[in-house]
C-alpha cells in the first residue's frame, strides 16, 4: 500500500534504445516493439503448456479404456487446453503482431497509449499465470472452456477449480479490452500522412476489424462471467437451477461472445497471410477492397450466428432456420478471401520460403475447416455432428490449420524484422511439413471418429466401438506436431543468435515496416514518411508493380520522389535524442496496476477458502495499491 512511489517519476535517464538490456528494462518498457516481443515469448511459453496438455489428452485416448490420467485430471486438461489455446496463445500471439506491426505499418512512432499497452501485457501475463498455475496443484478449472452453467456453478463445482476460470477470464478480458481501445485509437489517429484507410496494409485492416469485435464481444462475456461470479461467491441465482435460474442465459451470452471470438482468433492470421502472399508472389493483393470489406462483413455476420452452437438445446424451428441461414451466409465473405488469395498467387512469380509455405498451408487447410463449418450450419445434420469429434476436427482445421498456420507464417516472415536475422529455411521446411502432415494425421481422422459416434470430452471410451484406429492415428499425429513444435523452438532460439543478417527488407515486401532497419530503432521512423499508395516500398523499388494503382500524385515519376521513405540501411543508427524525437519514459507503474488487479482477484479465492479477514485485506490492499499506482501513473509525464 505504501509502496506506490516505488518507481521514481523520472526514470534514470535510460533513453529507451534497442541496446537497452536487463530484466528491469523489460518490466518497465513502454516500447510497442518490446511489448510485442514480450507478448510473443509469453504466448510461445503458453503454447508449450497448451501443447503438452494436448499431448497428454491424446496419450490418454490412444487406446480404449486407458488410464494414463484420471477422469478428473483429464477434465482439467481438456478445459485448460481450450482455455490456454484461445486466451493465452492465439489471442496473445495475434496481440504480439498487433503491437509490433500496427505502428510500423501505419508509419507511427508508437501506439496511442504506450503505458496502457504495457498494462495490457502485464495483465495478460499475470492473469495467464493465475489461470495456469492451478493445474500443477490439481485444482485447475474442470468445467470446459465454455463453462456451461449449472455445471460451472457453486452447486456442481464447489471447489476452487472454476473460481480460477471465472476470475482468470475476467482478468484476461481487462487486458484484451484495454488493448483493443488502444489499437483502435492508434489506427484512427496515428496513421502517417497519406495513409488513408484504404491504403492500410491488409494486416492492419484485419487487426482494425478484430479490435471492434473485441470491444463488442468482451463486454458480453464479462457480463456473463459477473453473473457466474456472483452465483459462485455471493449466492445470486442467475444460473442456479434449483432457484429457477436459467442455464440457457449463460449459453446465449457465452456464444454471443464465443462466436465473434472465433473471428478474433482467425482474422489476424488472415491479415498476416495477406501480407505474405503478395510479397512472395510479386503481385499486389488481388481485390484489396473486397478483402477489406469481406473482413468487415465477417465481423458483422459473426455477431448474428452464435446460436448455431446451440442447435441441440431446442430453440424451435424458426430460430434454428434463421441461425442456420445466417451461418451459411458467413461462408460467402470467407470463401471470397480464399479465392482472392489464390488469385493473388495466380499469374505471380512465386517463391516458397517457410512463411509462404505456411501461408499456402492456411489456404489449403482453412478450406477444409470452412467446408466442414458450412456442414454444421444445417441443424438436422448438425444434430448428428454437434458434441462429437467431428466438431473437434472442424475447429482444429480452423484454429490450427488456419490461425496457427497463419501465425507461423507471420513469425517466419517478421522474425527478420524483429531480430535482424533470418530463420533457418531448412529447419523451417521440416517444421512446415511435419506440421502439415501431423495436423492432417491428427485432425482428419477425427471427422471419422465423430461421424461414427464418438462424443467429445470423454476421458475414455470402450473397445470395439469402431474408433480405435482413428484415435491411434490422431495420437500419432499429435506427437508429430510436438516434434514440429520442438524444431520450431530450436530454430527460433538458434536463429536469434546465428541466423543470416536480414537487412531492412529481406523479402522485397511492399509495406512501410520494411523501409526501416531490422530491428527497428526505438523511434521506428527517423522521419515520418508520407504515403501516396498502398505499396510504398514497391513504389520505391519496383515502381512498375504499382503503376496501375491509384496514387496521390498523378505523375508516376513524382511517386518515387514523393515517397521519401527514408531507407535507413546505409545511414548510421542514431538515437532518439540525437534526432530530437521525444520518447516516452520507461515506467513500472502499469506493471504495478496490473499486480494490484491480480492481488484483488486472488482475494476472491481466499474468500472462497473462508479466510475472510485475509481476503478483505487482499482486496482492499490490492485495490488501494491499484488506485495509488494508477494515480502515480496518471500524474507522471509520458515523455
Amino acid at each position: 500500500m505504501a509502496t506506490t512511489t516505488a518507481a521514481p517519476a523520472s526514470a534514470p535517464v535510460h533513453d529507451a534504445s534497442p541496446g537497452q538490456t536487463g530484466l528491469w528494462s523489460w518490466v518497465t518498457t513502454v516500447d510497442h516493439k518490446r511489448i510485442g516481443v514480450l507478448y510473443l515469448y509469453t504466448a510461445l511459453f503458453y503454447l508449450l503448456v497448451g501443447g503438452l496438455e494436448a499431448a497428454l489428452i491424446r496419450t490418454q485416448l490412444a487406446r480404449p479404456n486407458l488410464s494414463v490420467v484420471s477422469a478428473e485430471t483429464y477434465n482439467q486438461l481438456f478445459t485448460m487446453h481450450g482455455t490456454t489455446m484461445v486466451f493465452l496463445v492465439v489471442m496473445p500471439l495475434s496481440a504480439a503482431f498487433f503491437n509490433y506491426l500496427i505502428p510500423l505499418q501505419i508509419g507511427a512512432r508508437d501506439v496511442a497509449f504506450p503505458r496502457l499497452n504495457a498494462f495490457s501485457y502485464w495483465v495478460y501475463a499475470l492473469g495467464g499465470l493465475f489461470i495456469t498455475l492451478p493445474i500443477f496443484f490439481g485444482v485447475a478449472p474442470n468445467g470446459g472452456w465454455f463453462g456451461y452453467a449449472p455445471l460451472s456453478g457453486p452447486t456442481y463445482s464447489g471447489g476452487f477449480n472454476m473460481d480460477f476460470w471465472v476470475l482468470g477470464l475476467q482478468i484476461l478480458g481487462i487486458s484484451s479490452l484495454a488493448a483493443a481501445f488502444n489499437f483502435i485509437t492508434t489506427i484512427i489517429n496515428l496513421r502517417a500522412p497519406g495513409m488513408t484507410l484504404m491504403r492500410m496494409p491488409m494486416f492492419t485492416w484485419m487487426s482494425f476489424v478484430v479490435q471492434f469485435l473485441v470491444i463488442l464481444a468482451f463486454p458480453v462475456i464479462t457480463a456473463a462471467l459477473f453473473f457466474l461470479q456472483f452465483d459462485r461467491f455471493f449466492g445470486t441465482n442467475f444460473y442456479q437451477v434449483q432457484a429457477g435460474g436459467d442455464p440457457l442465459l449463460w449459453q446465449h451470452l457465452f456464444w454471443v461472445f464465443g462466436h465473434p471470438e472465433v473471428y478474433i482468433l482467425i482474422l489476424p492470421a488472415f491479415g498476416l497471410v495477406s501480407e505474405v502472399l503478395p510479397t512472395h508472389s510479386r503481385k499486389p493483393l488481388f481485390g484489396y477492397n473486397v478483402m477489406a470489406y469481406s473482413g468487415i462483413m465477417i465481423g458483422f455476420l459473426g455477431f448474428g450466428v452464435w446460436a448455431h452452437h446451440m442447435f441441440a438445446v431446442g430453440m424451435g424451428p424458426v430460430a434454428d432456420s434463421i441461425f442456420s441461414m445466417a451461418t451459411m451466409l458467413i461462408g460467402l465473405p470467407t470463401g471470397v478471401k480464399i479465392f482472392n488469395w489464390i488469385a493473388t498467387m495466380y499469374g505471380g512469380s512465386l517463391r516458397f520460403p517457410t512463411s509462404m509455405k505456411f501461408a499456402i498451408g492456411l489456404i489449403a487447410m482453412f478450406t477444409i475447416g470452412g467446408i466442414s463449418g458450412v456442414m454444421h450450419s444445417s441443424p438436422p445434420s448438425n444434430m448428428q455432428q454437434t458434441d462429437t469429434y467431428f466438431v473437434v476436427a472442424h475447429f482444429h482445421y480452423v484454429l490450427y490449420g488456419g490461425a496457427m498456420m497463419g501465425i507461423f507464417s507471420g513469425i517466419y516472415h517478421y522474425f527478420p524484422k524483429i531480430t535482424g536475422r533470418l530463420m533457418n529455411e531448412t529447419l523451417g521446411s521440416w517444421q512446415f511439413w511435419l506440421n502439415f502432415i501431423g495436423l492432417n494425421l491428427t485432425f482428419f481422422p477425427m471427422h471419422f471418429s465423430g461421424m461414427l459416434g464418438m462424443p467429445r470430452r470423454i476421458y475414455t471410451y470402450d473397445a470395439g466401438q469402431g474408433w480405435d484406429l482413428f484415435n491411434l492415428m490422431s495420437t500419432a499425429g499429435t506427437y508429430m506436431l510436438v516434434v514440429a513444435g520442438l524444431i520450431f523452438a530450436f530454430n527460433f532460439f538458434r536463429s536469434r543468435k546465428v541466423g543470416a543478417l536480414a537487412g531492412n527488407d529481406p523479402w522485397g515486401a511492399p509495406t512501410l515496416e520494411w523501409s526501416i532497419p531490422s530491428p527497428p530503432p526505438d523511434y521506428n521512423f527517423a522521419q515520418i514518411p508520407e504515403v501516396t499508395s498502398r505499396y510504398p516500398m514497391w513504389d520505391l523499388k519496383s515502381p512498375e508493380r504499382t503503376a496501375g494503382l491509384e496514387h496521390s500524385h498523378a505523375d508516376a515519376a513524382a511517386i518515387t520522389e514523393a515517397h521519401a521513405v527514408p531507407i535507413h540501411e546505409e545511414t548510421e543508427r542514431r538515437t532518439a535524442a540525437e534526432l530530437g524525437i521525444p520518447m516516452p519514459f520507461n515506467t513500472i507503474k502499469p506493471f504495478m496496476v496490473a499486480l494490484g488487479i491480480i492481488v484483488m482477484f486472488s482475494g476472491m479465492i481466499v474468500l472462497h477458502a473462508g479466510k475472510f479477514p485475509l481476503a478483505m485485506a487482499m482486496m482492499i490492499g490490492g485495490g488501494a495499491f491499484l488506485v495509488g499506482s494508477l494515480y502515480a501513473w496518471l500524474t507522471s509525464p509520458l515523455e
Partner: protein, 433 residues
C-alpha cells in the same frame, strides 16, 4: 529438399485421404450416424449427402486450382515479371454468386427438414420420459407406469416420443444410429421423436451422453433395444409388476392378476398391438421377457476394466437372496432405499426424489452403472463394495468395510458391509428379474 516435398505433396495428401476414406468404409462401425433406421436420421443423412457432394466439389476445385497455381507460377530465374493485376470485379462477383447459389441448394432442404423433424409427434406414439442424472439415465414410460434406468426399449414401427429433462446439470441424449441428439436442460423440457423403421430386426444399440456433465461424463452411456411390438408388450407387461420377493408380489396370483388385468384396457387405443388381450388376460405373473443376451453384439457389451478390489468368488456362489433382501430393504442395515426405489417394497422417496436408479427389475438389465459394466455377480459385488472406485465421482457410497471412499476421502469403518453380506445383496439384486 523443400522442392522435392512440394512435388510430392498432392500425391501424398490425396493418397492419404483416399486410404482413410477406404478404411472408414471397410470396417465395422456400430455407432455410425449414417444409418437409415429412423425418419429423423433419413433427413440428417440426406442433408449430409448433399453437403458432402457440394463440399467435395468446392474442396476439389479450390485445392486443384491452388496446387496448379503453386506449380505453374513458381519463380523461374530470368522469367518475365508477373502481370500486376489488382483485382477483377467480374471474377469476384462470380465467386461470390456461385457459392451463394450453392448455399440455396442447401438452405431450402435444410429449412424443410427442420420444420418436418420438429413438428408434433404422430398420434399413438409411445411416450418416454428421459431424465438425466449425474451420471446415469432414468427412463419412464408414463403410459405403462414403468420406471427403469440405463436400458431403453423401443417398439419397432411405432414412434417414440421423448420428453427430456435433467435432475441436475445439462446432458444430451443420443443414439447415433437412431438420429440426432437433443440436450437435457435444467428448468426446461425438450422433445425429440423418431420412429424405428418397421424393417428393423430386434437389435441392441449404444447411446451416450454428449453434453459435458462432469467427472464421469464419459461413463454416462446407455443401451437401446429396438424390439418387435409383441416383444415390447411382453416386456411392458413384466416391467410393470412389483419386484420379486416384495410383499406386493408375494401372494403371487392375486396381485399380479390385478396388475395384469389393467393392461388390455390401457393398451386398447394403441396401434400395432394385436393379440395383446389374448396374452394378458387371465395370466398369473407375466413371464419375464428381456432382450436376449445372445442377440447383443459385442459392441453393446461393455468391457470396462475392473478394479483390483478383492472378492471371494465362493461367497458369491453361496449368496442368499432372502438375506440380501433383509439388508437392502432395511434402512437400519443399509441405506439403499433412501436413494433407490423398488416397486412393492417400502417407499421412502417418490420417483422425482430418488437419487439412484429404480431397482425393481434390476436383474433383467444386461448392464448397470449407466452401461459401464455387465450385470454379473462378481462385477456387482465389486461395485457395491466400492462404487466411486469404478466410476469417478459416483455418489453411490462405498459399502465395503475397510475400503477407501474416494468421495468422502476416508476409509469405511463403521456401517459398512462385509463380503458375505455383499454376496447376499448381490444375490438379491440379481433375483430381481
Amino acid at each position: 529438399m523443400p522442392k522435392l516435398h512440394l512435388r510430392r505433396f498432392p500425391t501424398v495428401a490425396v493418397l492419404a485421404l483416399v486410404l482413410l476414406a477406404l478404411s472408414a468404409c471397410g470396417g465395422d462401425y456400430p455407432n455410425s450416424t449414417f444409418s437409415h433406421h429412423t425418419e429423423l436420421n433419413d433427413g440428417a443423412v440426406f442433408l449430409w449427402d448433399r453437403m458432402m457432394l457440394l463440399g467435395t466439389i468446392v474442396f476439389v476445385v479450390v485445392e486443384v486450382v491452388l496446387v496448379y497455381t503453386i506449380f505453374k507460377f513458381r519463380r523461374r530465374e530470368g522469367g518475365p515479371a508477373p502481370r500486376q493485376i489488382q483485382g477483377n470485379a467480374a471474377l469476384e462477383i462470380t465467386w461470390t454468386v456461385i457459392p451463394a447459389l450453392i448455399l440455396v441448394f442447401l438452405a431450402v432442404p435444410t429449412v424443410r427438414t427442420i420444420f418436418e423433424s420438429q413438428r408434433k409427434a404422430p398420434d399413438g406414439a409411445v411416450q418416454i420420459e428421459v431424465i438425466g442424472h449425474q451420471w446415469w439415465w432414468e427412463f419412464r414410460y408414463p403410459q405403462y407406469g414403468i420406471v427403469t434406468a440405463n436400458e431403453l426399449y423401443l417398439p419397432i414401427g411405432r414412434t417414440a416420443n421423448f420428453s427430456l429433462r435433467t435432475r441436475d446439470v445439462l446432458h444430451s441424449f443420443w443414439i447415433p444410429q437412431m438420429g440426432g441428439k437433443r440436450d437435457l436442460i435444467a428448468n426446461k423440457t425438450n422433445y425429440l421423436w423418431f420412429t424405428p423403421k418397421a424393417d428393423l430386426t430386434s437389435s441392441a444399440w449404444n447411446g451416450a451422453c454428449v453434453e459435458y456433465c462432469g467427472s464421469s461424463h464419459a461413463n454416462m452411456r446407455f443401451r437401446a433395444f429396438t424390439v418387435t411390438p409383441a416383444e415390447f408388450d411382453k416386456w411392458v407387461a413384466h416391467q410393470k409388476t412389483a419386484a420379486a420377493g416384495s410383499p406386493a408380489a408375494m401372494p403371487a396370483p392375486d396381485t399380479s392378476t390385478k396388475g395384469a388385468a389393467k393392461v388390455p384396457v390401457k393398451m386398447a387405443g394403441m396401434p400395432g398391438m394385436p393379440g395383446m388381450t389374448a396374452t394378458a388376460t387371465p395370466a398369473p405373473a407375466p413371464e419375464a421377457w428381456v432382450f436376449p443376451l445372445e442377440k447383443m453384439k459385442a459392441f453393446t457389451l461393455p468391457s470396462t476394466p475392473l478394479p483390483a478390489t478383492r472378492f471371494d468368488d465362493a461367497l458369491l456362489a453361496a449368496g442368499d437372496p432372502k438375506a440380501g433382501r433383509e439388508i437392502v430393504t432395511n434402512v437400519a442395515k443399509a441405506p439403499c432405499l433412501t436413494c433407490h426405489n423398488i416397486k412393492g417394497e417400502t417407499q421412502y422417496l417418490n420417483d422425482d426424489q430418488a437419487k439412484g436408479p429404480n431397482l425393481t427389475h434390476f436383474g433383467t438389465r444386461h448392464t448397470f452403472a449407466a452401461g459401464l459394466f455387465r450385470t454379473d455377480a462378481r462385477t456387482l459385488a465389486l461395485w457395491i463394495k466400492n462404487a466411486p472406485l469404478m466410476k469417478p465421482g459416483s455418489i453411490m457410497p462405498t459399502f465395503g468395510t475397510g475400503e477407501y471412499n474416494a468421495l468422502m476421502k476416508q476409509k469405511v469403518t463403521a456401517g459398512g458391509l462385509d463380503d458375505k453380506q455383499i454376496a447376499d445383496v448381490v444375490a438379491y439384486l440379481l433375483s430381481l428379474k
